[in-house]
Structure formats: C-alpha cells, structure tokens
Amino acid sequence: MKEDIFRITEDPIPPDALFDLVRSDADGAVVTFAGVVRDNSLGRETEHLVYDAYREMAEKKLREIGAEIRAKWGLDRVAILHRVGRMEIGEISVLIAVASPHRREAFEACHHAIDRLKQTVPIWKKEVWKDGETWIEGARPVGNS
C-alpha cells in the first residue's frame, strides 16, 4: 500500500476514496463498505447527524482492527476512514476497503472491520431531529430532548 490509512477526517468521503489505495495487481477482489446517513432513526425523521471522536484513540483502535485482519486473514491491504462533524442525509460517515486475491477473505475481513469498529472505536453519533437532538450511546439514546 502506498500509505497507511486508518484515519478520522472532517472532510466528505467519496465512495471510491480507498479503492486505488488498497488494490494491487495480485488482487481479484476489492470489497468496500460505506456507512451512510439515513433519513430516519428510532421512528423519527433525522435532520442531520453530528459525529464526535476521541481522535487519537480512535485512529489507534482503527490501526488495531487492521492488525486483527492481518493476523486472521493475512491481509494488509485494508483502509478505514471515519468522518466527524456534521453530515447530511446520504453522506458517507464511514468507509472501509479491503483487497484480497479472492472474494471470501475480503468480504469476511470487511464485515469484521465494521463490527469491531462499532464495538471498540471511540466515536459517537448525535441524532438531530427537527424538534430536538440526542447523543446515541450504545444501542439507545441518552436522556430526552
């Protein structure tokens, strides 16, 4: 890989941001996963989202996910970007790309990466509705507003 990408960014993430970075000529598969801002949550209409991160620790945890994938599938062509700040409906909040010679390993590793990210990486989402907002911490919202 040209450079190691496990990064928190404020900038919009294009869907193909990581493709060329992870792909090599030995690869027959590139799997990318994009997490996208949806227009509804918890039965309410989402206006926009705001993500906050403990940036230094988040990037460290993302690198650890990369190390897990290297250990389990022998793949080092993995990249993860997570955006922070305000995001509108349809924008990409997280993008993961994994390249491998065959599809199975790339699918499995990409699935592992998003599951682990949601468990261990210190990033938080705030749902903003027309009539209020709340931090989502774990599976449920905090307090009422």
């Binding site: 230094e56 620790m57 460290k60 909040s93 990210l117 990486v121 210190p122 990033i123 931090w135 911490e137």
Partner: protein, 83 residues
C-alpha cells in the same frame, strides 16, 4: 499530581469542556478520579455504570493507577459507523 481528563459526547455536554486539568492524590486510581469527577459534576453519575475509561488512549480497568501527566478519558458507549 496533575492529570488530564477528556470528555466526549454526553459527558462533554455535562462538563461543558472537552479537556480539563485535574489535581488528584498521588497514586489515585481511574475509579477514584471518576468519583471525584462525579462529585464535581453530579450528572456524570447517571452514566457511570455504562461508561468505559481509557488511560493514555487505551481502555483501562477502573483499578488502574494513574501517574503524573496521564490522560484519563471517559468513554460513553460508542456509536460510530451506522446503525
């Protein structure tokens, strides 16, 4: 001794600060500092049972002993990625 404490998401809304410097007793544990913070900011207590702690950017057990200059962060349940 002096340490740094970091707050995110709902914790930051309560403390109204992302980062504060704290004077704590020599040899204090992460849990003891959390107690001290909950006294200063009582609304943190509501989140207490659900929060994780990190010391110097790694998850840490409550009984971890802090050293001067350490960075303690309160980590509410994370919600990155997408639901």
């Amino acid at each position: 001794m002096k340490i740094k404490a970091l707050f995110f998401a709902s914790c930051r809304d309560i403390v109204k600060n992302r980062e504060i410097e704290l004077e704590v007793p020599e040899g204090a544990t992460a849990a003891e500092v959390l107690n001290q913070l909950c006294q200063t900011y009582p609304r943190l207590s509501d989140l207490r049972g659900r929060m994780a702690l990190s010391v110097n950017e790694d998850y840490a057990a409550p009984e971890s002993i802090l050293r001067p200059g350490d960075t303690l962060a309160l980590i509410p349940p994370v919600s990155g990625g997408c639901l």
